[in-house]
Each structure stands twice: as structure tokens, then as C-alpha cells.
Symmetry: C2
Subunit: 306 residues, 2 copies
């Protein structure tokens, strides 16, 4: 195999009670990438469409991720990478993770799978480190493995894939304002009250349980975040109103996607999700802020070969 | 039915990563209680054996719990309660929870079940409030419901019963020194670092997942606690050595039971648990501290009618 065309999905991380540890993979929102072996023994980004991103390997998240992989293998096979961005940078739905994971997935496949999908995660995390200063795993894990992923621990890195109840739908609103992960992270206090932390881990435990028992209502009741959401939501125009509209119209839960400004709404069933999407659209188009709005199933496969 | 004799089980709460939210019910460690209707329209503690505990209804955890239940029902049926303590007060394995839950369970049963088991939890929590100044639910929930219980939230109170992988065994060492819950609680800082809190909820999420998937090794890897154990373990003689011995001999995990001084060791299989129990016994009997040592299955039923 000389070349591979793939779909690299968007992801929603920091799912409320699962700050820094829980992410989920979207189905019909994502980038396309074309990765091809070259005979130049050089890693190159040869084409980027849809976004203004650096071609320099050291400055591109796909570049640094693949470089880390090739260095680990200690081989000097060359690759050309085309990135066709559909996910906007700074949207909070894993734009950098899509590029990083897509690149390492395709290169690994073209090299006949020297690594398992889980083993690719640390390489893709190098892209996250470049993008945000923090090598987090809660976007790259669901992008690679699909479904809901839990970062059990960072040292050592251990990722669990959790079940995806089939009726779940995600509505994601991306207000077209840019919030840099670095800035959004700076808002977060280094210490939290033990009481709030206990409340957070009670909810996360319940959320994980509800994924196994397919208890949709419990999923919704568990999507609370008293720690991060109160401070980060101030950067998102009309966050409180959006959340109220979503819940009033039957959403299971609603919160900030990644570090924002995107907002995710978790819904039960396609019909409910379509109604909620429409309500959000009606509300937001009156506010004079451009936005993208997605409705997606849970993507249990992760990256797809096209 | 005029009277009921029951077994009120011991419980291990604060299971490492599940501080304040996760407890489990033991099988062969617990009190016996006899509860009988009387015609005096009075609630009385008529007999206590095994421990020196108050007979005054207002000062006895069983008394305040039943009083709360009867007040809620607004009836003046009288009851006589006999408490035969096997669990020592201040042991950290839910001595007060056994008395509170046993009493409300039996009274509820003698009144033909006006409340479900879950509905009894708040009454039993009144006993915990009296015992420790804090109406926690992570002992009374597993005592009433059996198995592993997660306190999803306190406001509103929501308790989830989680699965119990069948090969799990608990070895519990109770060094016969008294640590008051109030004192042990005073050691805990009101704030924690966000980084440690994230690590804690990652582990709790993984623990819950492992209960569903019966992944014993993952259960063990998830039983970490960087927040509470480091400060509370200083009150427990030879805690670090005990933990090392347990893990070296094949234990899945080890931590403080409740607020101590008991130490729990989670094991896979009866044979492994017996070996670990023996190692702990050999180690501790050289230290000149009296102790009790239990080996128990997980009790998935909770309180039992005898």
C-alpha cells in the first residue's frame, strides 16, 4: 500500500464531570487526509486546504506526531501528508487531535501496523503538546479508538474504551469566535475545594456506570461540572441561555466542548436531537454571531479509511 | 410479624479513589439485632451487648435513625431494639452504619415496608450524623443495598448499586487502636490540587468500568488515592509496610477503610486472600498491637433476616 485516504473525526473532550479524562468521538464531523509514501526519505506536509496552517513539520501537529512515531521506529521512510481541514482550529472539537491522529494512523497503516491503535496515542499527544502546551489524551484517544474514552491515568498512560449507548446523539454548536486552549486553561484555578472534587468524581462514576447500563437519564443527571464550567463558560456567548434552551427542550445534558467555545448537547434519539438543534439555531441566529452547528451519532470506530 | 432478628453487616467505605462516594458490603462481619414491636408507644433500646453504647434514644445511632423514620411516618408504634455488637466502635468498618441501617431495616419490615431500601438511606444517615458529625452515605448504602454502592450525589441524594465481580475477597485488618472519624476528618485539607483531583476521578471512572467488565487487574490499578491516604495513613501503625506486604503477595489493592484505623486489602480469589491474610497476620503479631483480622466475600444482599 502506497497511499491512504482517511476520515479523521472531531471529538468532544472534557465532557463536564470528565474534565481532562473523558472524551467522545463524533461521526460526521471531521477532516480528510491523504498520506502517501515518498522516496525522498523526508516527511513533508504537501497540501493543506480549509485552514491556514504551517507546512513546517516542526510547527504542524501532524508533522510532530508522525516525526515522533518515525523516530521511535528509527526508520527513514518518507511520507507526504495532505490535510483537508473541515474542523476549524480553535473550535474546541479536537481540530489538532484530528490532524495528529489521522497522520499517525495512516503512517502506521502504510508501515503495516507496527503499533496498535492504543500505542499510537502517545505520538498523537505530541501534536496536542504543540497545539496547547499540554499533551492531553482526551481528544486523541476517542479519535483513534472511537466511542467514549476514559483517560484512567497519565503516568503510566492508560486509556479505557467505554460503551456507547446506541440512541445517543451529540449536537455541537461552534460560535465562530476563537478561544485558545492556552487562554481557556489559564482561567482554571490550580486548586479546587475537596467538596466539589468529591461531587465531580461521584458524577463521573455515575456517568461511567450509566454508559454500561444504557441509562440515558442517569447520563444526563451526571453531566455536571461545578469546577471548570463556571469559569470557562464566561468566554462563551450566551452559554447559560443555550444550556437552558437545550435542557428545556429535552436534552440529557449540555456543557463546554474541550476548552470551548463549542458547546455540546447530549441527546437521546435522533428526533429529540433534531428538535434541539433547531431550537439552538433559532436562538443563536438572532444573536449576530456566526456559528456552525452539527448533529452527530457517536462514532464507535474512530478514524475511517475512505 | 411482631419481631425480627437480623444480621447487620460491616462495610468498607472511602475505597481509595472513591473517597466519600464508594463503599462495599462485607459478608461475615457484622452485628446481630433483634427488633420487637411493643405496646408502650415508645421507642426503646432494651439491650446492648459487646460494646458500651448509650441506651438513650437521642444518643444512640439506631435510636435517632428509627426516630427519624417514625417521625416521617407520623405514627407512634413502639419498638424495643436489642443490639448485639460484633463490630467495634471506631474501627472504620461501619459500626455505626450497621446499627443505624439494621434498626431502620427491621422497623420498616415490621411495619410492612412503607419504604424501599433506598428510601431508608436518609434515615440511617441521621445515625451517621450523630456518630461523626457528618451524614455520609457511603457506609449505610452498601449496608442496606449490598455490594458496591456509589453515592452519585448528596443533593439530591442518589445512590447507585454497582456490580460485584464474584471472585473478589476483602481482607480487613483492624488494629485495636481507636481513631475517631471526627479526628481523622480533621486531617483532611479543604482544598486539593486540580491535578490530583483529575487523577482521582480518572481512577474512580476506571474502577466503576472494571466492576462492569470484571477486570480484576484494572480494579487493582484503580485503587489509588493521592489525596486522603497520604495524610490519614499516618494515624495507622505500619500502614506503608502492610500495603507493601499485601501488594507483594498478590493483592489487587490496599487502602484505608473508612476513616481508619482499619485497612482493607482487595484480593482476587479465596486462595490468594487466605495467603495475604496469613502474611498480614504474621507481620502484625510481631508488632505488639492487638488486632482483628477478617476475610470476607462481597455481600451482595446487605442486611439479612436471620
Amino acid at each position: 500500500m502506497k497511499e491512504l485516504r482517511i476520515f479523521a473525526p472531531a471529538t468532544v473532550a472534557n465532557l463536564s464531570c470528565g474534565f481532562d479524562v473523558l472524551g467522545v468521538c463524533l461521526d460526521n464531523v471531521g477532516d480528510e487526509m491523504l498520506v502517501r509514501k515518498n522516496e525522498l526519505k523526508k516527511l513533508r506536509i504537501t497540501k493543506i486546504t480549509g485552514q491556514d496552517l504551517p507546512f513546517d513539520i516542526e510547527k504542524n501537529v501532524a508533522g510532530v506526531s508522525v516525526k515522533a512515531l518515525l523516530e521511535k521506529l528509527d526508520i527513514n521512510q518518507g511520507f507526504d501528508i495532505e490535510i483537508h481541514k473541515k474542523i476549524k482550529a480553535g473550535s474546541g472539537i479536537g481540530s489538532s487531535a484530528a490532524s495528529s491522529t489521522g497522520a499517525v494512523f495512516a503512517v502506521n497503516k502504510l508501515l503495516d501496523d507496527p503499533f496498535t491503535l492504543k500505542e499510537l496515542i502517545p505520538f498523537a499527544m505530541e501534536g496536542e503538546r504543540l497545539a496547547s502546551g499540554n499533551a492531553h489524551a482526551d481528544n486523541v484517544s476517542p479519535a483513534l479508538l472511537g466511542g467514549f474514552c476514559l483517560v484512567k491515568s497519565y503516568i503510566p498512560l492508560e486509556i479505557l474504551k467505554l460503551p456507547s449507548p446506541p440512541q445517543l446523539r451529540m449536537v455541537v454548536l461552534h460560535p465562530l469566535i476563537e478561544v485558545k486552549t492556552k487562554d481557556s486553561r489559564a482561567l482554571i484555578k490550580l486548586n479546587v475545594s475537596l467538596q466539589k472534587a468529591v461531587s465531580q468524581w461521584g458524577n463521573l462514576g455515575a456517568f461511567v456506570s450509566a454508559l454500561y447500563t444504557e441509562d440515558y437519564e442517569l447520563l444526563g443527571r451526571s453531566l455536571k461540572d461545578e469546577i471548570i464550567e463556571p469559569v470557562r463558560s464566561i468566554l462563551i456567548p450566551y452559554f447559560d441561555e443555550l444550556k437552558e434552551i437545550a435542557i428545556k427542550n429535552g436534552a440529557l445534558g449540555c456543557g463546554i466542548s474541550g476548552s470551548g467555545p463549542s458547546v455540546y448537547v447530549m441527546c437521546k434519539g435522533q428526533t429529540s436531537a433534531e428538535k434541539i438543534k433547531e431550537c439552538i439555531q433559532l436562538f443563536y441566529q438572532e444573536k449576530g454571531i456566526d456559528f456552525d452547528l452539527h448533529l452527530s451519532k457517536i462514532n464507535t470506530d474512530g478514524i475511517k479509511i475512505l
